[in-house]
Symmetry: C2
Amino acid sequence: MIKVFKIGGNVVDNDEALSRFLDDFAAIEGEKVLIHGGGKLATRLCQQLGIETRMVEGRRITDRDTLDVCTMVYAGLINKRIVAALNARGCKALGLSGADAGVIPARKRNPEPIDFGYVGDIEGDKVDHAFIQHLLENGVTPVFCALTHDGNGNMLNTNADSVASSVAIAAARFAPTQLVFCFEKDGVLVDIDDPDSLIETINQATFDDLKAKGIIAAGMVPKVTGALKAVSQGVTEVVIKNSANISNNRGTTIK
Amino acid sequence: MIKVFKIGGNVVDNDEALSRFLDDFAAIEGEKVLIHGGGKLATRLCQQLGIETRMVEGRRITDRDTLDVCTMVYAGLINKRIVAALNARGCKALGLSGADAGVIPARKRNPEPIDFGYVGDIEGDKVDHAFIQHLLENGVTPVFCALTHDGNGNMLNTNADSVASSVAIAAARFAPTQLVFCFEKDGVLVDIDDPDSLIETINQATFDDLKAKGIIAAGMVPKVTGALKAVSQGVTEVVIKNSANISNNRGTTIK
């Protein structure tokens, strides 16, 4: 089973959490892939450089200057920090953006009705699964940042969860694949403040029920919806779990 | 013949020159590799961020903050800009630092007598030539920035000419290899202001003679010395030529 892990800002921004995660990730046997989000470093660097953050409907506009900062921070600083740390732990990690070897082509989002700038939506079936397969079969662990390529020389800022789903769906074309979304909770909780209220498994039918009852709400809705979509497109299972607990079985499994 | 090209700041810092070079590079048939220097962007970003540039004996000290900037600019902004541009030109380029897949291990330079900080010297015979060979045989064009890895999770700033020589020497272990250093002149000139005074070929004997006569002097001495060293370590030939002329035969060949 290929294991595709996604970590976000809560891990990337925390040296101790990141180091612990990378210890555990490096120790996983078999074929594996890591996708990392960007964290707050890009926002901080934009501030230091006097690049204004423009938000529309709660979402950031990626203009050319912001894109350059994202490319520096995501593909440069964070990606190489993780790659170097994994190689130091004996894991033969290779850093990738979607532009590298043309592995994740994307389309710049339609500027109507809102022009989000250099933001990309992945054309799922165009991910180069053969390239990913080839790396894995040669003992290489791909480490993706959340940048894709429009095919015309422009990098595109892309949602890291979407990159993770697309990579897992591509991997599922050649081998059984598990996708693991890591975050700061143990999984989907009935009561967000009670770690003991973990929901162990969710499928489409139980999701509809939990959503109707308001138990799955807010930010968890798109997460689980995305997970169910990945399952519907061939990913064996999706697990939502705590980044500090990847070596045990605790988490919410979506099938 | 594998062709290993190195471009420096005079190409990287000039959008038009870079675009023209990438047109020509993408059009080269057969197996090829690109190594790029950093240009002035890192220095500019250090200034913008208020990171002091400390020089000793005319050479920059790479402290932790400076290293982070170099990692952002070299492995992030410049590397992905080149990789995206090459993929847009139909060349399946893959960006690499020395940390990626552990391809270029290096040793942090001895802090005595001068502590240059996070600066690396490549352990030549440890470059993973099999990994480079594998990429080339699969139609992938490696694009290296000038950062290496100490094996313990630290990136190391490394001279781009040295990276190019080490990669060419590694490639020469599995196939005949030509190393091409691109710069702003047509090659080694008898009179630096007269493009017609090009020296077409240099070998160890003619180099000793030209150096004794003061015709090869100053910055050209280490360049040609490095080229002769690469030849002595198995590289078929080294060419010093104009980045604007890579598709013709003009240049100085060192054998």
